[in-house]
Symmetry: C2
Subunit: 164 residues, 2 copies
């Protein structure tokens, strides 16, 4: 569709019409995808990052929390239904340490999408050749089971799947 | 707070309590931050990326649209209030061409946050030393004014601000 031929006034309507939607999951599907839960940003300076979202952008921001089991400090930024999670390494074996060595200024570490049944989703995704980074789900930062998908199968993006 | 000392059952409640919220914007603030609008993912293979979200993950996915003014093809993936936007270069001067040269498998190109008044937000952000990548806002892919913030001032993340 040549959007450039269409007047600027009409574009927003067209862009959000979702014409030709094809959801492959029938009513009988064993699991369903949900909301975008969060975007996780690895930050070299967590206080500065928190100040950006709280003091400059004026967002609702949680206190800093130490998630020892996950090797990160985290600050939650609520932006409507979805969140930004600001992450900073905690301990010597933090899973985001290498990422920050490669990305000195920080960057998007992963995105998280909700599903209603993680076991069914994992089985289905495996059967469709989407790599999982662990055989079993683990309890994530929100106290719910999570699993990570291989970025090579997801357009270079580390995708966390969380049961809601 | 030492989350590890607290029982697993209590963690989800604590993590989302947003205790100690400090929003610096008073009722008199000239602009307000809104929702996380989208996460934009640059994709080397748009058909494959679309198939992942539509056929494998079962999300609501729009048709492919050619945004000539922006130098991208785009597919919108609706995930609750927020969207993923799958981007692929259109034309020789596409703004995501270099990104894909650096990130062969693709990756998160930018995130987009809504504001209620982009002119007021731009003036305020500039006064607080957050760099804007253009002097004026432009009409973005949704037909609304947008501006990009300097990733150096945003934890290495390219942040698009869109008036809602």
């Amino acid at each position: 569709m040549l959007v450039s031929r269409i007047s600027a006034q009409l574009r927003p309507l067209l862009l959000h019409s979702f014409r030709g939607i094809h959801a492959s999951h029938s009513a009988a599907a064993a699991w369903k995808i949900g909301n975008l839960n969060h975007v996780a940003i690895a930050c070299p300076d967590l206080e500065k990052a928190t100040s950006l979202y709280r003091d400059i952008l004026g967002a609702k921001v949680s206190e800093k929390q130490a998630l020892h089991d996950h090797g990160v400090y985290v600050v939650f930024v609520q932006l409507g239904e979805a969140k930004i999670e600001l992450l900073h390494p905690l301990g010597d074996k933090s899973p985001i340490q290498k990422f920050l060595q490669r990305n000195k200024n920080g960057g998007v570490h992963h995105i998280c999408i909700e599903v209603d049944n993680i076991e069914a989703a994992m089985k289905d995704l495996k059967s469709k050749n989407i790599g999982l980074l662990s055989e079993k789900s683990k309890i994530g930062a929100h106290g719910k089971p999570v699993v990570f998908l291989n970025p090579k199968d997801c357009n270079g993006v580390l995708v966390e799947v969380e049961e809601k």
